[in-house]
Amino acid sequence: METLLVFLLVQLSVSEGRPYDPAPGIWHDKSEARNLDCSRMSQQRAHELHPGEIPAPLARLANQESEALVCTRRIMRNGERPERDELILDSLRESVGEIAEVASALGPGKLTWHVDAFYPQPEVAAKISVAARTELAEQGRRVSDKVPVLAAGDIVVLGRMAPKDAYPLACKRYFAQRALGENDAFLGIMLIDERETQLHAGLCLNGEWRWLR
């Protein structure tokens, strides 16, 4: 019995007795490890970012490059919200930033910007819209909270069309019905295919639709 106890203690203390190691093992399970985003960096850089947790490199080892594995826990754990929503929202700032930058470059001048997002879940669509409006406003654009609306008949027809035809036609109808004028720009952000995890965007200016990404 003593032999077994010593044997187990040796295993715990030497091999996996590293509770700070985020790898799956005795202390952490695989699902826990999947909720971390980890990256390798120099110990000096890691110390600057996390001074309380990672010690500064020893002065006598200044010539040797030592590294640290820095992990941050994801804000939303896997499974807490639908997978596609999680992926879209996790990279929302970057994707909306890119879209707003391209749209701004194509719509110079004193335009009033209208933004709408076409996403299956309304609550996620609202988040995308707000993020895009904020991004445009931060770029010094005049942004409206109003979303152009089409007649019920138009919506019925457009709803039956594929996105490649629906968005350009909607743009024409916005302009024809004066929901958008010459001084208005409409930025549409959407998902094209239910299997993808990225956002696309198009710009409607003077009744002309242009795909941005």
Partner: protein, 249 residues
């Protein structure tokens, strides 16, 4: 009589442990643990068992380098080629050697998507003194080798326009020792559910599952992006249009 029986029983038990350790030392003494570092642990929506690339021509290029040799790059290309073939694509593979492509890409129609794969070793760590201790203690004190790798993926269209890119990073820890293997084997057998098991080929299976899922998702995103940037005009060699869903204005 009783004391003798107890002593005999203890000896039998000790002999059992020696036999068990010997059996463990004979082979199954390496335990590999896989930890996704970045991008690999993201969920993937696209189902690799469906025809996501029906009618498309893909070129998969696996670039050998300091970390991955040409033969391994060839094997990787064949496996990734099978992944996309199973999803309905016509796949060609290319393993450049000495900076030269193994295929004459000028001939015939260009591929719809070019998937470039290259691997990098980010970090490797192994303690010499610990290995010595492991040998001296007959692996009761285990040794380990830890390494992190990055699989860089870029996907371009036939004109070379970058449609998608990502760096899939993983960390592997190889424990060497009968004790570590034994402890994990017992935990796998008694405590852990099947998806949490560590021993056997669990690390390879988990990494393959994550890698192929992310690769399929990246390629599918690239496919839709190419369609959008082409304003949904048909590809030169016409394939099927993507399944279009979602809300419209």
């Amino acid at each position: 009589m009783t004391r003798r029986a107890v002593k005999f029983g203890r000896r039998v038990r000790d002999a059992g442990w020696v036999l068990l350790c010997g059996a463990l030392l004979s082979g199954c003494v390496t335990t590999t643990v896989y930890q996704p570092l970045s991008a690999l642990q993201r969920p993937a929506i696209v189902d690799p068992q469906l025809a996501n690339f029906e009618g498309m021509r893909l070129l998969v290029r696996c670039v050998p380098g300091d970390y991955i040799e040409a033969s391994d790059a060839d094997l990787l290309c064949r496996k990734v080629g099978s992944l996309f073939r199973n999803q309905g694509a016509r796949v060609e593979t290319d393993v450049p050697r000495n900076g030269r492509s193994s295929r004459n890409l000028q001939e015939g129609t260009p591929p719809d998507l070019v998937v470039n794969l290259s691997s990098r070793l980010l970090h490797k760590e192994s303690s010499g003194p610990l290995w010595a201790l492991t040998v001296l203690t007959l692996t009761i004190v285990p040794a380990y080798t830890e390494y992190s790798v990055a699989q860089d993926v870029t996907i371009r269209d036939s004109s070379g326009f970058l449609l998608a890119s990502d760096s899939l990073k993983a960390r592997f820890i190889e424990y060497f020792g009968a004790g570590v293997w034994g402890v994990n084997w017992v935990l796998d057998a008694v405590v852990r559910p099947p998806e949490e098991e560590i021993t056997g080929d669990a690390a390879a299976k988990d990494f393959s599952r994550d890698f192929y899922a992310q690769l399929s998702q990246l390629a599918f995103n690239a496919r839709v992006r190419a369609d959008v940037l082409r304003s949904f005009e048909p590809r030169p060699q016409s394939g099927s249009n993507p399944r279009q869903t979602g809300a419209v204005p």
